[in-house]
């Protein structure tokens, strides 16, 4: 055992830190730190900066323009980015679709789409969930019927994150209704400006414009937009989900959230003393910190074991469950720390200006607490993850 990073890894961390110091615009990190919703222009700006440096696609092989970092390097990059309050890299094109295209797409699809993901020309969104197909994704009903050299798509997708910014959507559609659910699904790439597509925003409980419904009415999709083989979409979808679950532990996000709660608790005063000195609050905070220290190490243990680019199975389910519990606990502590000033609704429409009511750090805490309830719901709910863990542990055992 040796808990220290290698010289190379330490040097890499320094390099990442130097880059973030120099290139991360202060307007962006300030927005991220204060929980302000980023605009499309904000996302595009950070995307372009990373692309210029060649650091946009840590998980891509070099032949496609990636940086081919190993798992530890990617971890260091994620940790430093979160610490510096860098915008999250929108994952739909870069870390979800791209691996599928690399493995299952045609040469033509790779050559066409991968460079456009890097350049930012295409913004992809994900057409997976449907109103009736959440945890049970394979029950999806959106139909694609072959008509000459097109598919005709009808149906509805939901929870489409940042679909309002996307010009492309990758979709799971049903192409065969006469076979087992999982065997009749195909993976289609669709232009969002095709006639018959309508994007309707969903108003979330914290007021953020984040997710959408996407409706398809007789949408004509060229057959060359099929990825891989017809009716093999479930295999590709599962492959994609293993990539959705990389960085699932969110260690960097939690470390940034912990630091932010500590800053708040030093400033807030409870009965005349800093809140951070209050025994009850300090105990809650310490317990989460202890959990996070251990979880960060679990994450590193799993990372160092996994071959580069390969997402582990049951371990990633464990990291998803513990990682989301910790992040949600930190959001809860931030809300508590804010005290009565968690109550105002922090909307840009307040007074027509952007001045927060009360201390700036308090303003987004309630919204963040509620918004991040999604962490234990999406990407395979924590119940689904526990089911995977239990199934693996007890396989063949309980008779």
């Amino acid at each position: 055992m040796d808990l220290s990073y290698t010289q190379d890894e330490i040097a890499f961390r320094e390099e990442v830190r130097g880059f973030l110091d120099e290139k991360l615009p202060e307007e962006l990190s300030a927005k991220v730190a204060s929980g302000v919703v980023l605009s499309k222009a904000d996302h595009d700006r950070w995307h372009a900066i990373l692309n210029e440096k060649g650091w946009l696609a840590p998980n891509w092989p070099e032949e496609f323009g990636g940086c081919a970092w190993n798992a530890v390097q990617r971890h260091i990059f994620e940790e430093e980015s979160a610490r510096a309050n860098a915008p999250r890299i929108v994952p739909f094109g870069l870390s979800m679709l791209a691996p599928v295209l690399m493995k299952f797409g045609s040469d033509a699809q790779r050559e066409h789409y991968l460079p456009r993901i890097l350049s930012g020309e295409d913004w992809w969104c994900q057409g997976y969930s449907e109103p009736g197909a959440g945890s049970d994704l394979a029950s999806l009903k959106t139909r694609a019927v072959r008509d000459g050299d097109h598919y005709i798509v009808n149906g509805q997708k939901t929870w489409t994150t940042l679909g309002q910014y996307a010009n492309k959507i990758f979709c799971l559609v049903r192409t065969d209704t006469n076979v087992k659910q999982q065997e009749g699904i195909s993976f289609l790439l669709i232009d969002m400006d095709t006639p018959g597509i309508e994007v309707r925003p969903i108003k979330l409980l914290d007021g953020t414009p984040e997710v959408n419904e996407v409706w398809f009415t007789d949408v004509r999709v060229p057959v060359e937009n099929l990825v891989g083989e017809e009716n093999m979409g479930w295999t590709y979808a599962k492959y994609l989900l293993t990539h959705e679950r990389t960085n699932i532990a969110g260690v960097g996000f939690s470390q940034a959230a912990l630091a932010s709660v500590k800053r708040m608790a030093r400033q807030e005063r409870h009965n005349g003393k800093p809140l951070i000195e209050n025994a009850h609050f300090a105990a809650r905070l310490a317990q989460v910190e202890i959990d996070l220290m251990a979880m960060a190490t679990t994450n590193l243990r799993i990372i160092s074991k996994a071959a580069a680019g390969q997402a582990p199975g049951v371990e990633s389910s464990m990291l998803k469950v513990k990682g989301t519990i910790i992040r949600q606990e930190l959001n809860d502590l931030a809300r508590r720390a804010a005290g009565p000033y968690a109550m105002p609704f922090a909307s840009e429409t307040i007074d027509g200006d952007n001045d927060p009511v009360g201390p700036g750090y308090a303003a987004p805490t309630a919204a963040k607490y509620f918004n991040n309830r999604k962490l234990s719901i999406f990407g395979g709910s924590n119940e689904i993850q526990r089911g995977i863990i239990a199934k693996t542990l007890l396989a063949g055992g309980a008779k």
Partner: protein, 377 residues
């Protein structure tokens, strides 16, 4: 022992439940939440007409209730329906302090309060006071031979709808002293009072108030000079019973919605309520809900006790409700999945009411501290 409501309380509960289920549906409430005013004048008038405001005042003050169980009955129903209309601020805090401390002239205002004709707010908390009830730095100062108030009040719920404010200020002593605090009943548009209003995360509105040389005199004073703390603490205690009961009602609705959803939502070809992992969570929720109900009953039943015994039960209730409420809100959302994250679905608002109640009059940990202190005595 008798855990039944009185006949009058039972009637009030039935009336409220019928009225709110007919008139305060999700669409109506969502429209109210989106409105600039933040509450419905029409609903307010109808609630007053039904006697809901009157039920929060004693007969001496022109009402027909006002005791702990009257308050808990009314607020449990308000909580069940996710009502955002400011009964707590106008009736319990503003009206309650006038009833407790007002002279005859001031008490005349209660007729209008009970009739639903005016709104009130308590301007007590300050930007630095957090949950510390005795911390008042707004000062009464002598300026050109007159008494004036200078200071700032924070997150004053219902301030911009209120025609009058009950304002706390320090007459004497240190910033944290219980003695030396006075209350004043002022028109909300008195010269020197300025407000910045804003919506609240879980519905309704509040304001930051700046008091800049606001003239006061003995006629505007509410109660004796420098001796308002006990009355303030008593009325906050009543407000805490109200808030705990409201949270209980909201928890009942969250649990009912979740139960219905478990039985109707199908995944993997069967209702999700057939999965044991969810069944046990639902069972835990119901266990906590009954704990919460008993805690509210204890708090309401001890509201008229001497302060230490009263506050010990209230802190117990609010600590328990804080813990159980969080569990019910979070597990209800989790078991619903994404649908519960949408503002249009009833649970979103109900969950916000439950969780954000923790930010008024002392959160779960603050209540625990007070309970420990009072139990050690």
């Amino acid at each position: 022992m008798n855990f039944e409501l009185t006949e009058e309380q039972q009637m009030l509960q039935d009336t409220m439940r019928r009225f709110l289920s007919e008139r305060y549906d999700t669409a109506t409430r969502n429209a109210i939440l989106d409105s600039a005013q933040g509450y419905s004048s029409e609903i307010w008038a109808q609630m007053a007409e039904l006697g809901i405001v009157g039920a929060l005042f004693s007969e001496d003050d022109g009402g027909f209730g006002g005791a702990g169980f009257d308050i808990s009955t009314v607020f449990e129903e308000l909580g069940r329906a996710g009502v955002v209309e400011p009964l707590l601020d106008t009736a319990i805090l503003g009206g309650g302090l006038i009833a407790r401390l007002g002279n005859d002239a001031q008490k005349e205002m209660l007729v209008e309060v009970i009739a639903g004709e005016l709104q009130l707010a308590l301007a007590h908390g300050e930007p630095e006071s957090r949950y510390d009830l005795s911390r008042v730095t707004t000062r009464i100062e002598s300026q050109g031979g007159k008494m004036v108030l200078n200071g700032r009040k924070a997150v004053v719920v219902n301030a911009d709808a209120a025609s009058h404010l009950v304002v706390s200020a320090r007459e004497s002593g240190e910033d944290d002293d219980e003695s030396g605090i006075s209350l004043f009943l002022l028109p909300a548009d008195a010269p020197g009072v300025s407000m910045r209003g804003y919506p609240l995360f879980s519905g309704g509105r509040a304001a930051e108030i700046t008091l800049d040389g606001v003239e006061v005199d003995d006629a505007t004073r509410l109660g004796a000079a420098g001796e308002a703390f006990d009355a303030l603490a008593s009325q906050i205690a009543a407000a805490e019973v109200a808030l705990a009961a409201e949270t209980l009602g909201a928890m009942e609705t969250a649990a009912a919605l979740t139960r219905d959803y478990l039985m109707t939502r199908k995944q993997f070809g069967r209702p999700i309520g057939s999965f044991q992992a969810l069944q046990h969570r639902m069972a835990d929720m119901m266990i906590e809900l009954e704990q919460a109900r008993s805690a509210v009953i204890l708090a309401a039943g001890h509201l008229e006790d001497a302060a230490p015994e009263r506050d010990r039960h209230i802190s117990a209730a609010r600590n328990l409700l804080g813990r159980a409420g969080r569990l019910v809100a979070e597990d209800s959302i989790q078991m619903h999945g994404g649908i519960a994250m949408t503002q249009e679905y009833e649970l979103a608002h109900i969950a916000k009411r439950i969780v954000m109640a923790d930010h008024r009059f002392g959160d779960t940990d603050t209540q625990l501290e007070r309970f420990i202190a009072l139990s050690a005595a």
